[in-house]
Amino acid sequence: MTSMRYIEPHAHMVSRTTDDYRAMVLAGCAAVCEPAFWAGFDRSAAAGFYDYFRQLTEYEPRRAAQFGLPHFCWLCINPKESEDVGLAREVIALIPQFLGRPNVVGIGEIGLNKNSRNELQVLEMHVDMAARHDQLILVHTPHLEDKLKGTRLILDVLRADSRIKPERCLIDHVEEHTVKRVLDAGFWGGMTLYPETKCTAARAVDMIEQYSSERLWMNSACDWGVSVPLAIPLAALELRRRGHSAPVIDRLIYQNPLRFLSQSPKFILPGGGLEQPAHP
């Protein structure tokens, strides 16, 4: 698998070392996208998010650029901090001033965590803002026992807003019990490669083989927890072990995320990103 290329569409690089950027580029990473997320502890005021949004739009692109890696980001207040609706309202009010920055591709990762009424209200506020500003949407679905119910509630919210185009929304962290309803509703689906709490590479390949993979991508969602920044190249290896050809692998780990993300006029890669891979 020489000259493999891939796009990492979901990585929380603020919590990773610079070594990880280097390793990703060496493995063939052509672009990285960083959704706003929970820092592991609650921020006490909207000003903390203002600093975080500056970090995502100023500092991280510079750090990635040391290795020639284009860095893009999504902005929001993460569902884990959405129980406080007043704080969420203040943070959401900060976002429009950042939407014009060159590496911001959309609103995310919004969604639900424990499926509470307040989380739903904040999700609706984010969806409204994305619609008003014509932004792509990246949705986090809840963890473990909360995922099935949360995915249903999220789809209800998105489908209830006639301004939302499913092909411009990606529902992330799908697993076997949620992937079909996401794809059947016309949305994109993201498979997150966490061995214990989301899905393994082998299970991701199972889903690729069982469902239409035209609107599926894989991501590492690497953050400050136990996670693997090179999960996508490892999944590519799993695809190869399962007999998938180099062009099929390229479509799954490079062309699919390129197709979704290119709906943002800001997602531009050197050379347009459409050149053919070097491998046969």
Binding site: W38, K80, E83, N113, K114, N115, S116, R117, N118, E119, L120, P142, H143, L144, E145, D146, K147, L148, K149, R152, L153, E175, E176, H177, A202, R203, D206, R241, R242, G243
Partner: protein, 88 residues
Amino acid sequence: MTRRELLDLYFMEARSKLIDVAAFMDRLERAEGEADFRFAAFAQALPLLQGQGGGRVERVLAALSDPTEDPIAVATSKAACGAWPGGK
């Protein structure tokens, strides 16, 4: 891939995980303490592995999920534990 090829690729890994599950259950049985909803849900999901016709992953995931439909009043924690407490 053929069934034989898939067995060649995954049997040892699946065997290892199966033995890990057996060891986990023995370990719990040796320990003292009260019953826990997580293991109850785990035990209820085990027979689903014996079903036929595929869909085992989906059924196991569904068995470990919150089956209710309405949003909860307030999120009092951030973490998920892997099984629905309401099923105890």
